[in-house]
Amino acid sequence: MSILINRHTRVMVQGLGRDGSFHAKEMVAYGTNIVAGVHPGKGGTYLEGFPVFNTAQEAVEETEAECSVIFVPAPFAEDAILAAANAGINLVVAVTEGIPVLDVSGVLKELNELGVRLIGPNSPGLISPGESKVGIMPGGIFQRGPVGVISRSGTLTYEVVNQLTAAGFGQSTAIGMGGDPIIGMKYNDYLELLENDGDTEAVVIVGEIGGSDEQDAAAFVKEHITKPVVGYIVGRSAPPGKRMGHAGAIVEGASGTAAAKVEVLRDHGIPVADTVEYIVKLISEKLGG
């Protein structure tokens, strides 16, 4: 088991430019069940054995794809996400960085109406080790196991996962939610799924400055989650008002600081690690590894 994706999930790739094509290959190599690609004008061709279509609608009709990963450049990504959602895809993973925030807000309204889940935008995707990966995460460092990882970041997730794997703690599913101010699914959505996932025994929340998602997660964990949860928040040394790489990583107001987040997590009984090594230690305590 795992959440959201497994080896059977029928995945399509939208945007087969340089990045999209490269990662499509990587996903196929990892074992992801890629059934279709979408790229206007490339309809009728094949890539890595999967057929490419001109439109998302055609791709879904022909292949019954159920999940789509978006590599389309920012100016066209909104349209691509809506195309996927309206074609019948039920999980969209938007890797694209730089989609205007108000556009994402509008997209989410429509996706909610359609009952479609969105991961990202500006997300590295997600992986259920040994099953499937959708996005750009480096498959090699992941290992199947009992830890769910939910993060707002890419490389930091890899750092955390790498150390977990090295210490013998594999992952059920690891998710990069995306670094933008407005994103689709958030901690609480994933926490609920991980709580109900038979393979997951503990969860790591990797947070950062900006917004108050970590605070929301703390309250949610206290009320709804029975499995052990461990937190880690970066950006303690970030000055206010400055965007730290991610569009969403900017301290505005008191609640957006790392200190505030750490405090709320701890107040809600969630141990917070100061370093990546300490995450492993906390997980090891919880799981008795």
Binding site: H23, E26, A74, P75, G98, I99, P100, V101, L102, D103, S105, G106, L108, K109, E110, I136, M137, P138, G140, I141, R152, S153, G154, T155, L156, T157, Y158, E159, N162, G179, D180, P181, I182, V206, E208, I209, G210, G211, S212, D213, D216, V234, G235, R236, S237, A238, P239, K242, R243, M244, G245, H246, A247, G248, A249, G253, A258, D274, T275, V276
Partner: protein, 382 residues
């Protein structure tokens, strides 16, 4: 991208939001001419992206053009919250009967824009929000439908009893939303929205922050960018595909990935050191990018040691190592350098570096500690 008051007011005027007919000037002489043109009394307002200008002496009333000249002379060159004042706005002085607040921002939790309005305008709205939240009216905005007239009226009639004023305010709210939506703002604020003694309503101050993600749609707005010196450096980095924020510590950091870059700064601080910057070089290993990144670090006089922290994911470590070697060959600096390299093709990458005389570590904490030690030993001779 934060706009200065005079720029935000220009956008307001383009969206038919009433504002005083002011003139932005960059010299005391121009301020005098502007005051003559506008007619005294006028208000001279420092144009800086910082709150609390008034308290800092950055806003002065002038009864005559000569006074306007003196006021501008005093304000230009002044430093407000580390920002030097290069521009002042000469606005006609108005007779204020009441001060209100309207602002539209993005509610990250609700994932939609939200309008806030308050009869307690002219003061720090964050303070009102935390001390007397009941004084703020919130109005959700459906991102697809926008702020509708009836929604604006519902808010405006809570601020004003008088029909004419309420309708004027609600019309401004709808126009503020249209402006917000059209320029892809993340904040658009009128504080104060002033009721004048003649009963008219106008935007006395203006604040707009634009969504950097949306700038590709608004090339004409890009020209409004008036970066401060530190922003200039950040912008230059952005042009090279880097994400850079300068701090005041001693350890220059270069990292791939924003989250890992923050974690790197944090571990340095955790171990007793001080990070000199945030620097995310992204996923690519292009030597050009690394060269620019190194130049950024080396140009910071506070830096005493450099810590390069790379986690090879999709990007292979050997590629990164090759890029680093090429880059380091081009950069003249004897700042001590610590490289941490791990992930995909780690072995190959470390070999390439060690052939170049750099012994890379695989552990982030170890690397950070080493950099801190080197920095505390005084760093390289510069």
């Amino acid at each position: 991208m934060k706009l200065e008051e005079f720029q935000a007011k220009k956008l307001f005027r383009e969206h038919d939001i009433p504002t005083p007919a002011g003139i932005m000037v960059t010299s005391a002489a121009e301020a005098e001419t502007a005051a003559q043109e506008i007619g005294c009394p006028v208000v001279i307002k420092a144009q800086v992206q910082a709150g609390g200008r008034g308290k800092a002496g950055g806003v002065k009333l002038a009864e005559t053009p000569a006074e306007a000249r003196r006021a501008a002379d005093a304000i230009l060159g002044m430093t407000i919250k580390d920002l030097v004042v290069h521009r002042v706005l000469v606005d006609p002085a108005v007779s204020i009967a009441g001060e209100y607040y309207i602002g539209i921002t993005i509610d990250r939790r609700k994932k939609i824009p939200v309008m806030m309005a308050s009869a307690s305008g002219g003061v720090d709205i964050e303070k009102v929000a935390s001390e007397t939240p009941e004084k703020i009216i919130f109005q959700d905005i459906n991102p697809e439908r926008g702020l509708r007239s009836f929604e604006a009226k519902q808010v405006a009639f809570q601020l004003f009893d008088d029909k004419k004023k309420a309708l004027a305010a609600s019309s401004i709210m709808v126009k503020l939303w249209k402006c917000f939506r059209e320029v892809d703002a993340s904040l658009a604020e009128i504080n104060p929205l002033a009721e004048l003694s003649d009963g008219s309503i106008l935007a006395l101050d203006a604040k707009i922050v634009l969504d950097e993600n949306a700038m590709y749609k608004h090339l004409e707005l890009e020209e409004l960018r008036l970066p401060t010196p530190s922003e200039e450096k950040e912008l230059e980095a952005t042009r090279h595909g880097l994400s850079y924020v300068q701090l005041d510590g001693e350890i220059g950091c270069m990292v791939n990935g924003a989250g890992l870059a923050m974690a790197t700064m944090d571990i340095i601080k955790h171990l007793g050191g001080t990070p000199a910057n945030f620097l995310d070089i992204g996923g690519s290993s292009s030597p050009e990018k690394v060269v620019h990144a190194m130049e950024l670090l080396v140009s910071d006089k506070n830096v005493k040691a450099i810590f390069i922290n790379v986690f090879g994911g999709i990007t292979r470590c050997d590629d990164v190592a090759n890029g680093l070697v090429k880059a380091l060959g081009e950069i003249k600096s004897d700042l001590p350098l610590v490289v941490r390299l791990t992930g995909t093709n780690e072995e190959e990458g470390r070999k390439i570096l060690s052939d170049f005389g750099i012994s890379a570590t695989g552990d982030m904490t170890e690397g950070a500690l080493k950099a801190i030690n080197l920095a505390s030993m005084g760093g390289g001779s510069r």
